[in-house]
Symmetry: C2
Subunit: 395 residues, 2 copies
């Protein structure tokens, strides 16, 4: 397949690109390095430096003989976004021979400001998040409608769109019976941050595109991802993705492992009963692949809940503490005043069978997986700056 990956500089984008390339697909990646700049601006750079996309593509070709094409630009600009579907884009790699392969079979859309705390910092970062995320999705929807209507859009949503409702969370849709009549609707959304709310708006727009113009869309409602290892990230130190351990851009499991290694008490917010669905980085790649291999039909919005198991924050902290202590770290768990406005104890029962039915074989968060994460972090422990771990962005 010919795959276009938007937002490929990030934690998930680059491993996804290598995965598809390793399996023989034609891959083009796009980014504007927003995430890099934001990490520098906020003084929360990741645990280890990550080469730029062109440098990574060069090393990838050296190691594997395969070409990942790179285009650098801002997808919030309509004409830039359209250039990817018309062949008028300018390739950053390869410098010669970066020619367009025609409209992609699938486009994987990761190109959003991905941090909930960043989106809640102040009105400027909130507005930037809304503006950036909505405009990238808007430009993608119209570019595909106008220039590549058969292209399958694989959009990364988030389980956070649903919030923590008092009823079971179905996979995207809900059959409702009301006053003796029946209808099928998008499962009600009530997100917990501005970032998550932009994903709700994305879903509004993509569903409109599917039912009005026959777009083919898969919306993957993903939970927080953890881990660093895929077969490809092990090939070269430069192939590891961004690994943030700060409150802003780090996901919770990754952060807890770094805190354990750094001797920083694990930051449990409030009562720690906040329950979410999680998945291993390897499973993100498997899910995106399964989505690409099972495209939505014309006018169909497929929605999957992309998680493999659920944990409360307390359970995660206990798991990290147990593995860390087994490795000799005197891990402390500390409840701090919750900077977020969220339920600290709540009902949570999401359905997540769709991707398993397509063939997903989950990599669960075992002690061994956790120990592997510890080992990577330990190798880079001199880079940990404890003062960057927590700043208390208030909701």
């Amino acid at each position: 397949m010919n795959i276009l990956i938007l937002g490929s500089d990030g934690y998930l984008g680059w491993p996804t690109a290598m995965d598809f390339s390793a399996k023989g697909h034609d891959v083009t990646v796009v980014d504007n390095y927003f995430r890099r700049r934001a990490c520098t601006d906020m003084d929360v750079e990741p645990l280890f430096a990550v080469p730029n996309l062109i440098e990574r593509a060069r090393r990838w070709q050296e190691k594997t003989g395969k070409v990942i094409k790179v285009v650098i630009g801002d997808l919030a600009e309509p004409e830039f976004a359209r250039s990817l579907f018309s062949g008028s884009c300018k390739y950053g790699y390869p410098l010669t021979g970066g020619t367009w392969d025609g409209v992609p079979d699938a486009v994987v859309h990761y190109a959003e400001q991905p941090s909930a705390p960043y989106s809640m910092l102040d009105y400027k970062t909130s507005t930037l998040t809304i503006q950036n995320n909505l405009m990238v999705t808007t430009n993608l929807v119209f570019a595909v409608r106008d220039l590549a209507p058969d292209t399958h859009i694989i959009k990364l949503g988030t389980m956070g769109e649903y919030g923590t409702p008092n009823i079971d969370i179905e996979e995207g849709w809900l059959d409702i019976e009301h006053k003796g009549r029946k209808g099928r609707f998008l499962f009600p959304r009530a997100a917990g941050s501005i970032y998550h709310t932009t994903k709700v708006m994305d879903t509004d727009l993509m569903w409109f595109g599917a039912r009005m113009w026959g777009l083919r869309v898969t919306d993957l409602m993903q939970g927080p991802v953890y881990g660093l290892e895929t077969p490809e990230t092990l090939m070269d130190e430069g192939f590891k993705p961004f690994f943030n351990y700060d409150e802003m851009f780090g996901t919770v499991v990754n952060r807890f492992v770094v805190q354990a290694v750094a001797g920083y008490p694990l930051t449990v917010y409030g009562k720690g009963g906040q329950t979410r669905g999680y998945l291993n980085l390897k499973d993100t790649l498997a899910c995106v692949e399964l989505a690409a291999a099972n495209p939505a039909g014309v006018g169909e919005l497929k929605i999957y809940n992309q998680i493999t198991e659920t944990f409360s924050v307390n359970q995660l902290a206990d798991m990290v503490a147990k593995v860390g202590r087994g490795m000799g770290f005197p891990v402390e768990v500390k409840s701090i005043e919750n900077p977020r406005k969220e339920a600290e104890e709540h009902y949570y029962n999401p359905v997540y069978t769709g991707l398993k039915e397509l063939g997903l074989k989950p990599n669960y968060l075992t002690d061994e997986v956790m120990a592997g994460m510890f080992e990577t972090v330990i190798r880079h422990k001199d880079n940990i700056h404890s003062h960057k771990i927590f700043r208390g962005v208030k909701w």
Copy 2:
């Protein structure tokens, strides 16, 4: 009360401003004249010229002795939007003495690109609609949160957010029982145009603001408005609001009356069974006043379905034809191929009791009301350009 009206150059904004001013409230109006420019750009100017806002405010003061303050600027610019709540805005009228009265008690938000067909014309107008409407609402939400948290936001939504579901449309919220558990959720939305979808996104954002930051918000889910007359519009020819009769910016009843007068067959799209809720311009003002007099509480999102009766397009065409023929016009009704993608026959049963419970006394669409609209249109019939009536913007 101290009332700020955003988007006051438009069909509803200016009559609302006069209504509040006539009743003794302190009124400040804001616009960037987008609607004027768009009408000129698209060659669909209204039935008669409308003086600019400053000129209208000047005449209003001459006739009534009351001051409506005017600020001209683009609410999609964050700093401009914030200046209205910090007192640093620049007044266009009065030229001297335009001083800030402090944070408003209520802000009425009409400041959006209001046309569904315009939003569906091409990717540029679609993108402009999403960008403009979301950014104005975003800037308003953050300005109120940061600078005027007690201000009551009265937001004009649309019944079109709900679409035409197979179940009764409740007023904004729906109690759902699912697998033996219960929850209360926003009524599911599924809008029929990009414009209407931006209103869904607005609701997503304002509900987030209410539950997360305690904002006080009333969302008025309005149907298409018809009419020209309010006590104030009759005081001066220059006080009439924009009256568009084209497919782009005209609402359906207004358009049909002009078509009848112009001898242009009434343009019924497809089967004409499309049913919607409608209301008189006078009732829009009454509803906004009722919303202002009954503010949402801290953290409350109040939602009302702002319509007074429902009609199918065929019913409206028959009513216009009957009144028109009675006045001597040989009105023809003609079904044309539907340029929109919409159900032409569907279930439609919205609840709209909330505003009546607050005291709304509806002005129904009687033959007399229709005849009054005919009389106004007849006075301006030399301004009707038949070729501007229909251009067939495809969905």
